[in-house]
């Protein structure tokens, strides 16, 4: 392998003349530095291409330890630089040949970045997930075993009732989730529904009904939390996370069509 290096981009921010936090390290332990151009600053670190080239990445992205470590390191940098001012996070493993390419990017797309940064300045993202509370298994009603109904028939009937009940619950819960999303969006500057997480990702058994992200003015965070509390009710459980760097509200319209917003329902 060669000693070739690349420039890994974490986030683009407004250049407020604030120095990069000292000692900040990113993926692969690389020191984070800033590339300033035209009122913007790109936060980057140098990465070895024998680890961050396309080939090696294909392999390492399938290594869950590596992926988890790298995602955390990336997120850590994004978080840290967003403390100093509005920042637009860039997707994991965006690697340039060198600093010149990054400067060129800031030149070419400076206005779009500034638009995005203006939109999120002074605002934070909050995540709200709604889960359908688990339904208890349908108990066999007393006296159901009348008239010699076979265990099989009784079973099938119970099963059917249970499934119908579940379906009804689901519909009701989905409608509630919709209302919750609408209420939160009305309070927030903007709201976005992301695809719901599988139980394996959420770590919870209950069906996720809503995976929402809300852009909220910084000083209204607590108020937002209270709004969420006010929406809690039977049948649906709400989980609030944040504040986050506004990951969900810093999308650029990509001329090359690489924008990843297709499955969001606004």
């Amino acid at each position: 392998m060669t000693n070739e290096t690349g420039t890994y981009l974490y986030a683009v921010a407004a250049d407020l003349g604030i120095p990069v936090p000292t000692g900040l390290t990113g993926v692969n332990g690389g020191a984070v530095r800033g590339i300033a151009q035209g009122g913007l600053i790109a936060y980057v670190s140098t990465v070895p291409m024998d680890k961050f080239g396309e080939g090696p990445l294909r392999t390492s992205l399938e290594n869950l330890d590596w992926l988890g470590r790298t995602a955390r390191a990336h997120h850590h940098v994004v978080d840290a630089v967003a403390e100093t001012g509005p920042a637009a996070p860039v997707r994991l493993v965006t690697v340039y040949s060198g600093d010149e390419q990054v400067k060129d990017l800031l030149d070419r797309r400076g206005e779009e970045f500034l638009d995005v940064l203006t939109r999120v300045a002074g605002r934070r993202e909050w995540g709200v997930k709604a889960y359908a509370e688990a339904r208890k298994p349908v108990e066999e009603p007393a006296g159901a075993r009348h008239g010699g109904e076979s265990p099989g028939t009784a079973y099938l009937k119970r099963r059917q009732a249970s499934l119908q009940g579940q379906e009804q619950d689901r519909r009701r819960a989905a409608a509630v989730a919709e209302e919750i999303h609408d209420a939160l969006t009305a309070f927030a500057v903007a709201g976005r529904r992301h695809r719901t997480q599988d139980p394996q990702l959420s770590g919870r058994r209950e069906t996720m009904l809503l995976n929402g992200a809300y852009l909220v003015d910084e000083e209204r965070g607590e108020e937002f939390a209270r709004v969420v509390d006010g929406l809690r009710g039977p049948g649906v459980e709400l989980e609030l996370t944040g504040p986050w760097v506004p990951y969900s509200f810093t999308m650029l319209e990509d001329p090359a069509g690489g924008e990843g917003t297709a499955d969001e329902r606004l």
Partner: protein, 154 residues
């Protein structure tokens, strides 16, 4: 803004507490954000994993190591969980019902091929006979199978 400071979750899962970032910044949420959101820049960059490639990676990832992925909770890309949850449940349901049917047919060959709705009375009659002729095992058997079924619901 270093750590999300508020979480409405009353009780964290035990595994979450082992993560270095406290509260709600669990790995799943972070992965979802860094992989799925944020700015995507195409064009002249050196390495750019576009959506399709990422999806492939994610899919291969889950196939290669389902257990590890499950442990870490990485599976959201595979399909819409809203649908998949249902589909999985229906598949299990179907499988379980087929097994039950096979058992019934085994024990009572004349039932075979009688799928007409009107024929269901046959099952009842058989079952009643069965009960009167003293084969209590069947009831127990059903309950045992229901316990089985519960496992699948999880």
């Amino acid at each position: 803004m270093s750590d999300p400071t508020y979480s409405g979750v009353p009780a964290r899962r035990a595994s979450s507490s082992s993560l270095s970032r406290p509260q709600s910044a669990n790995l799943g949420d972070i992965l979802e954000r860094v992989l799925d959101r944020g700015i995507v820049i195409a064009g002249d960059i050196r390495v750019n994993l576009l959506d399709i490639e990422l999806l492939t990676i994610k899919l291969r990832l889950i196939i290669a190591s389902v257990d590890t992925a499950r442990e870490m909770g990485i599976d959201w890309w595979e399909h819409d969980p809203w649908l998949s949850g249902d589909r999985r449940r229906l598949v299990e349901e179907n499988r379980s019902l087929k097994r039950r049917l096979a058992v019934l047919e085994d024990r009572h060959p004349t039932l075979e091929g009688r799928a007409e709705p009107g024929e269901r009375i046959e099952v009842d009659r058989w079952s009643e006979e069965d009960r009167h002729t003293g084969r209590p095992r069947r009831d127990a058997d059903f309950h045992a199978r229901e316990a089985d079924e519960d496992d699948y619901d999880e």
